[in-house]
């Protein structure tokens, strides 16, 4: 449709759209509607660029752009391929949805420092798309760090004692992992390989043959645990702590952008730096699968014990992220496809769940599940969406989560890993145990005795309900029409 030159510029535009919006947002701090307009405009521009690139990539093209040559052998390099497009589509679309929700949330609560919030939001999205389109490990690292730093003011937004503690844990784990583990690993890789560009397929990787096994193991686990945003235990402790952030932050960033960036980086490195052949030869795949299985199960168990809704959702996220890594680690085509498609399914479902939690807070100021009895009857849309999204977590049809479970199980069967199948079954059970009661209580439970009866509570404001329902419907659509996203996933691994 457009010339190839346009597609060369498109990734840069997509990444920098929100960067350009930052000064505009800052300048319009006294005109909230104008400020919000800039956020939407940037989001729309981003999404349209990504959409166009998606069409181009679907036709079988890969876009590679070197932006700046910062070192003699390395530059800031973008590569748009199917894998990156999957993630970019999800985050850029959900940004639009989240922007609407955020505006509603912030205005309903009359939050302070909204300009700073939206500036950091824009920077965070720039970094997320930057990660999606990274063409080499240096660029990935750059945008990963940018994301950590730009989300700190968001996590610490409330500027109270809890915020400080949560934000402290946040940066400690993220920076500790990246500066302490990923940076040396990156340098060693550079010394070994001579450049850091990702391979163009998932099988060969870029590690030269003849590299010592111990070294490969060290590098691999440095990357696995160093990209602490992926929530693999024991580097997960920042996630529950980061829930002190306002709910839109939790929703978009910690359900979609930040954690997905972590998982994306991990899987990108696993597939395009190490490659399936090497992982297979050294049995790294199976080893990783077992390590993350531990996270899956443990996080689910902890989730069961939490009464605070956001905390429960946080541990659920930790568990679900490891599904993605599990899928990729199993190395069979079905499993890898399942893992990658879960990036999409989980994003839509989790954002819905967090949006619901936020809506409940805005309307009722309640945070704990035990207090939410009977609310479903008064907030039917909110809890209806919640119910639908929970199905994804559980993995039941007709939502997208079912597709994921199907592929993961098939993949585990292909790999002959019966233990993993057991893990998947067990975690499904656990998911039911801690998600179903919430919906059940909301619709059929008894309201706790309060001075303000539930009749005074209405449904959440429209500007919040619309995104909630939209996100929930998307979860449904990805379940009914999985082919739309699966065509990209099939380009990654046939």
């Amino acid at each position: 449709m457009f010339s190839p030159a346009f597609y060369q510029a498109a990734p840069v535009i997509a990444v920098c759209a929100s960067l350009g919006a930052v000064p505009l947002i800052a300048a319009s701090r006294r005109h909230p509607n104008l400020r919000e307009f800039w956020t939407f405009a940037a989001a729309a521009l981003k999404f349209s660029m990504v959409l166009l690139l998606a069409g181009w990539v679907l036709a079988g093209n890969v876009v590679e752009v070197t932006l700046i040559q910062v070192l003699p052998q390395l530059g800031i390099r973008f590569k748009v391929d199917a894998f990156g497009i999957v993630f970019a589509l999800v985050s850029s679309f959900l940004w639009i949805v989240a922007a609407a929700y955020t505006i509603g949330y912030m205005r309903s609560l009359s939050e302070h420092a909204q300009t700073r919030f939206f500036i950091c939001f824009a920077l965070a999205l720039c970094a997320a798309i930057g990660v999606a389109f990274s063409g080499n490990l240096l660029t990935l690292y750059l945008f990963y760090e940018m994301l950590s730093l730009s989300t700190y003011p968001l996590v610490a937004h409330h500027q109270d004692k809890e915020g400080r503690g949560g934000a402290r844990k946040y940066l400690t784990f993220l920076l500790g992992g990246s500066v302490g583990l990923v940076l040396p690993a990156m340098i060693v890789l550079f010394t070994l390989v001579g450049n850091l560009t990702f391979a163009d397929n998932i099988h060969t990787g870029i590690i030269p043959p003849g590299t010592g096994d111990t070294l490969v193991f060290c590098l691999f686990f440095a990357c696995l645990f160093g990209f602490a945003k992926n929530g693999v235990m024991p580097m997960h402790a920042w996630l529950p702590g980061a829930m002190v952030a306002p709910t839109p932050v939790s929703a978009l960033l910690h359900a979609v952008a930040v954690v997905k960036v972590g998982v994306f980086c991990t899987t990108r490195v696993m597939l395009y730096v190490f490659g399936t052949d090497l992982m297979d030869a050294l049995n790294l795949g199976v080893l990783t699968a077992y390590i993350v299985s531990f996270t899956i199960v443990t996080a689910s168990i902890i989730a069961m014990t939490r009464d605070n809704l956001k905390a429960r959702l946080a541990y659920s996220t930790i568990s679900q992220l490891s599904y993605i890594i599990l899928g990729v680690a199993l190395l069979t085509p079905a499993a890898v496809q399942g893992g990658i498609i879960h990036i999409v399914n989980h994003a839509f479902a989790k954002i819905t769940l967090f949006f619901c939690a936020g809506a409940v807070y805005v309307v009722t100021r309640k945070k704990n599940i035990s207090e939410m009895g009977g609310l479903g009857r008064v907030m039917p849309f909110t809890f209806g969406a919640f119910a639908l999204a929970s199905l994804t977590m559980i993995g039941a049809p007709p939502v997208g989560g079912f597709i994921t479970k199907w592929y993961l199980l098939k993949g585990a069967l292909d790999a002959g890993q019966l233990a993993i199948i057991l893990v998947l079954v067990a975690s499904t059970m656990l998911n039911i145990v801690y998600f179903a009661p919430v919906t059940f209580q909301a619709f059929f439970g008894r309201a706790p005795d309060e001075t303000t009866g539930p009749t005074e509570i209405r449904e959440a404001p429209l500007i919040m309900v619309v995104p909630i329902v939209a996100a929930a419907l998307l979860s449904l659509l990805t379940g009914i029409f999985p082919g739309v996203m699966m065509q990209f996933v099939r380009m990654v691994i046939p």
Binding site: L71, L138, D160, L183
Partner: protein
Amino acid sequence: MMDHAPVLMIVLPVFASLALTLIGPLGHRAAYGLLILSIAGSLAAAMATLVQVVQAGRAVQYRMGDWMPPMGIELVIDHLSAGVLVMISGCALLTAIYSMHTARQDNPDRLNHYYALFALLVAGLMGMTATGDVFNLYVLLEISALSSYGLLARGKGKAYYATFRYLMMGTIGASFYLLGVGYLYIMTGSLNMADLSEILKQPELGESVNVRIGFTLIILGVWIKMALFPLHAWMPNAYSRAGTTTACLIAPLMTKVSVYVMLRIMFTVFSADYVFQQIAWSRLVIYVASAAAVLGMITALSQRDLRKMLTYIIVAEIGYLTGGAWLANTAGYTGAVYHILADGLMTLCLFMAVGAIIYRTGVSTSAAMEGIFQRMPVTAGVFLIAGASVVGIPPFCGFFSKWYLLQGAVQAGEWVFVASLVIAGLVAATLFFRLLEKAFFGRLDDAVLETGSKTSHTAARTIRWNEAPLTMLLPLVLTGAALLGLGIYTNEVVRYLIRWSVPAGM
């Protein structure tokens, strides 16, 4: 004019310093203006020389008084010195602009004398970098040292004793250097660097004990001036008790120029071959440098006074530089040279930001950082950029120097140095993170009392916006931008400048 650029960059500040002692009656604005003019001229000459060197692809040589070397003294400006010269004059100019309020505050009565010493220090540093004669270097070393003693002594009451200690240590260092030069002179009969390197190539001199002693004494003297751990004890007190402007001028520059001198002696006078084959203590030096990096950062972590914390960060950075230089490979050397430029800028930025904060709040401990984001957002933002650069976060220049240093260390198999770089980076992250927290959150107790409940989100904290004055803010922002610019243009700097200066045989 262009032909004389090499000497102009040294001579302009000297003449300015002379003039500055005389123009007292004309008031402080005249002194300020004269200082800025002279250093700007010096910077222009340095940049002109840099362009000349890059275009010609070889060193620019200037004969003082048109006497032929090796009898006459010559100035030799090659790719290494050209970059450092621009950095020195650039940093000095930024500090001079910055000094308008703080220098007047510290020296209400004799501002012109203070500026005279300032100009003399700049002249000394430029001369040290540009000269091609080892004894001339000693003279200029002492000129800079003397001016720095004078400048540092203009701090608060406790500055006198700290400066005295610095004077003792500095004299020992310079005297060792002189003694080393004496040994070399005995063995070779020459004082010109190029000539010395020719003569020292002879095999019997390569084995000679005297030459080895000469080398050792020179390096030891330079290490004392450089504040390499464990010879660093004089630095924290001397720099932290100085006035704000003095700290901004001296802290980034003096130790870096001493590192430059070390590189010159190691690789131009002697050769890479000699240093790494004959001397063969490089592993020991790298261990010392690793210790410097880690211990420097850890000590910085424990400091409450902001400026003392920054001087310990300098100790750690000197560790990085020394380790990089002694790694014996191209990547390490590139990292060391790039880090001279990067660290000069980072240190300047940090000291300027801290100076602005101390100027506005009057407090010099880390308590001054509380709530600084609301009060002085620009200063706090630039401070954070400099902090991110120290930690090594891309795309700032600190990341790229870490990159090269780590690469060099991995290639050389020096895992101790790798570990120390990583640990120092993490400790620096903790350090700056703590300050970031203080800056962002301010005093939490006040907030709770003000609003009455922790969940009120409409906490309208009315902290006045009290940013630093423009003459302080402008250089600060420029330096912060330079950190980003140097990072993005790393490739150009390495390709056009540093790569040409890598010594043979690496």
